[in-house]
Subunit: 144 residues, 2 copies
DNA sequence: TTGAAATTGATAAACTGTATCAAAAAGGAT
DNA sequence: ATCCTTTTTGATACAGTTTATCAATTTCAA
């Protein structure tokens, strides 16, 4: 049977090999947990993994998630006061309309905007990995 | 002669009135300094205002900038390890291209994207007050 | 002018993430 | 399997940013 997350495990091992780093039980455990979610914080993962390995340290989680970023498996984003580590292999990206009156959030997707984003990026020599678009305003109910 | 920032001062006073808050010398001073810039951190403003009022406390700056956010005059954006307070009355809103490799930030503006955002918003019955667009990727140097 | 309520400044505390370092583990050579 | 060098780990100290605390001060309506 095919092991879970074989592709990502391969990417990680290749990165480790190229940089004289070692494959450890902790890195395997954290990768496995990481790939099951769209995004997670170090703190959340710490508590989540505490049951499987009570001695796994928080510093190790941070170090490993940062390692995943370097390997191209994850991406760090500052959200609120914490850092979210996004699972890059997860594709379905959506943007948000947020009502500043009542807090209502509407998700949307717009291909034209995405295309223009690519355009802007390439004009500046960038290759986009992901993006974040939030529109803040008043919904029809709160406008009155 | 028209006082500087009369409109924003009015918005602030209205907010204060609605919430039983008071108009103070410090709030006026901080608003005045805030409106002169596109975005600033609390720490930067603290140093900037130290000459005008050496006894102005850092906590007051934080409290006041957060108050501006609640009044709709500012918007907090977490950038790296610090919080940037954006002046949303500033029309030339700029978005950011952020390199996940080296952290380089390129500012840009794109009218077509803004127009499409308006379109999406109105389709959903929203009136946009402000927005946030961040594109994450690799700059030309980091791609190699 | 008075007095209740809000604000301020100074600083302690909380929070997130990184640095340190002795002990343990990995993995190639033997 | 054993040895040996290098890397990693876990525990915790530390650094940087933001918030909480609280006595003294200021605001503003009566």
């Amino acid at each position: 049977m095919m092991p879970k997350h074989a592709k990502e495990m391969g990417i990680l091992k290749e990165h480790l090999g190229k940089h004289q780093l070692k494959f450890t039980r902790q890195r395997e455990l954290i990768l496995d947990a990481f790939l099951k979610q769209e995004h997670i914080t170090a703190e959340a993962m710490y508590h989540q993994l505490a049951r499987k390995d009570p001695h796994l340290g928080l510093a190790t989680i941070y170090r490993t998630l940062n390692l995943f970023c370097e390997a191209g498996l994850a991406q760090a984003r500052h959200f609120g006061t914490q850092t979210q580590y996004d699972n890059i292999s997860h594709k379905g990206h959506h943007d948000h309309l947020i009502c500043t009156g009542c807090g209502k959030i509407v998700e949307f997707e717009n291909c034209d905007i995405e295309r223009l984003q690519e355009e802007v990026a390439s004009q500046n020599g960038f290759t986009i990995q992901t993006h974040r678009l939030e529109l803040y305003g008043l919904c029809s109910r709160c406008r009155h």
